[in-house]
Amino acid sequence: MSASVMLQEVTKEYEPGKAAVDRLSLEIADGEFMILVGPSGCGKTTALRMIAGLEKPTSGTVRIGDRVVNEVSPRDRDIAMVFQNYALYPHMTVHKNLAYGLRQRRTPKDEVQKRVTEVAELLGLDELLKRKPGQLSGGQRQRVAMGRALVRDPEVFLLDEPLSNLDAKLRAEMRTELKRLHQNLPVTTIYVTHDQVEAMTLGDHIAVMRDGRLQQFGAPQEVYDRPANVFVAGFIGSPPMNILSGVARGGRVSAGDFVLERPGVPDGDVMVGLRPQALRPASDGMPVLDFRIDVVEPLGDEVVLHGTAAATTAVACVDARVRPSAGSVLRLGIDPADVHVFDAASGSAIR
């Protein structure tokens, strides 16, 4: 059983006039993996907590399935949540932690036993059932936290930065595992993170938030390819997109030595966004710019260049065979279709 989730104009104000979440509207289809991503303090966790029922929206409606749940208590929403710090009950064994939610719902004992065993097997926790959370490693605790959510077989999973307390290697492993889990068990999942890699890799859709407002909602590739504004452009993608300030005159956009023909761009100040990965050694017919290299970071297959272009600090990722050296100037080009132009005042994309 799984359900869709819908937020309509949901606002949360902790103090009058200061919205932590500002008129947020989202639609998450049944079985979808949705990522809420943004820098810390952008309201993504508050949004999640409102879906969980741990916070009450100041206005707007939250729906799970076809039910408005604003006034429904967390226990009756049929959701399960994984907390950033796992929130395992320290005085209970792993088995009791997993069984707790079912017991609270007066599930028959043999049913509880069956479900706990199943989930423990699925997550490789069978050996740990008698231990207490204090005796587990970070990764094991994370699994128990996942297990506690899975065992309940809820309509919606809510995950609040579940991987942020793990080290890099374990985080990558768990990320893949989460994705596999969702592929096998497509339950509606809402996942909060500030990590844009998790956002890109895990989600069917991602919602980018900033200062309580939704910036863009779409499939990860779409958000990456067509960022709605400068903030999204800089936030999604690593290393972040280079933003050069420039000006548009009669369908011609220029920023320093970089010149691009783009008919239809209204005259005025603009920002030009160039993804580091889209930059490559110049060839004929491409708009080009000179890149002064300060630091070279070889990664094996590619080289990350830090330096200056059009009087702005910039980053470029080029093929390792280019063999650039620090201190030199490299002429880089870009496919005109890969250039993003934003209005300088509002920051929104000009298409």
Partner: protein
């Protein structure tokens, strides 16, 4: 990740040599603080030693001046005499009843109030809490008469109820537990809410099991307080039937004769339960007095 040997060399071999040891100074086998603490400890212990000494003296020796701290022979039969001179066992049971019920009452009622103050937001919750705290500053002597009047209206003068009911809950316990509850991660309670636990369920299944050190502290403090309480029983209890031990002890101070040795023997016996409680619970006690302040 960090434990992975780099280049096959176990990580500890990368460590620098330990810093060269300081030149050895001649050290006292104890901290210098002890020089100040030992005389204080002696002063604290003296009355206890004196109590035990007098309890083992003859009637004449116990009236001697200067007092005799180390009698040559021990009069152990004082204990037997003292035990039989008054209904000691009866008083002892009354004390036990008084102490245990007030401990139970405090653990239950203070937990409930403390949890509300720790986690529930309601209009005026902070003001109410401050009012509760303020009652800690009102000396008991001021409260005696109003409390007595209330108990009288309840028709509980000279009864076990009159002894116990006013002491079932107190602001100190609420404060102590509230401070402790607030140190517990709120996510545990939120997880329990999502798991379908009611407010009371959260208190009893999640919060209290994690608060054993604080509960133990409160229990011990309350036990000690009730066991040693003299003033309130003196006021509310008139008959031997309901008198706790501390009242019973005062029966040794007769109008005509003063049997110090018997009084002290009875006092020693009355203090044994406290000693036992303290021995068993010392670890909890020390640990949670440290807790009871603010957060670690």
């Amino acid at each position: 990740m960090t434990t992975e040997p780099l280049l096959g060399v176990p990580p500890q071999q990368f460590r620098l040599d330990p810093p060269p040891e300081e030149p050895r100074r001649r050290r006292l086998p104890f901290s210098p603080w002890h020089l100040a603490l030992m005389p204080i400890a002696a002063v604290m212990l003296l009355p206890l030693v004196w109590m035990v000494a007098v309890s083992l003296e003859t009637d004449a020796q116990s009236h001697a001046f200067p007092p005799l701290l180390f009698p040559k022979s021990f009069q152990f039969e004082n204990y037997k005499t003292a035990f039989n001179a008054v209904p000691f066992a009866h008083f002892f049971l009354n004390s036990l009843l008084y102490s245990l019920t007030t401990v139970a009452g405090n653990l239950l009622f203070c937990s409930l109030a403390a949890y509300a103050f720790a986690r529930m937001r309601f209009r005026g919750s902070n003001i109410l809490f401050v009012v509760f705290l303020a009652t800690l500053m009102v000396p008991f002597q001021v409260l005696i008469i109003p409390t007595f009047l209330i108990v009288k209206h309840l028709g509980m003068v000279d009864s076990v109820g009159g002894l116990i009911v006013p002491n079932l809950c107190n602001a100190f316990g609420i404060f102590l537990l509230r401070q402790f509850f607030r140190t517990l991660p709120i996510e545990l309670e939120e997880a329990a809410r999502i798991d379908g636990t009611s407010r009371l369920g959260i208190l009893f299944k999640i919060v209290l099991p994690l608060s054993l050190p604080a509960l133990a502290t409160l229990g011990i403090i309350q036990f000690m307080w009730s066991w040693n309480d003299f003033l309130w029983p003196l006021i509310i209890i008139n008959s031997d039937t309901h008198a706790p031990l501390q009242l019973g002890l005062s029966m040794f101070q007769g109008a005509h004769a003063q049997h110090w040795n018997l009084l002290m023997a009875a006092t020693v016996m009355s203090q044994l339960p406290m000693l036992i409680v303290f021995l068993f619970a010392q670890r909890w006690f020390v640990q949670s007095l440290a807790f009871s302040g603010m957060k670690q």
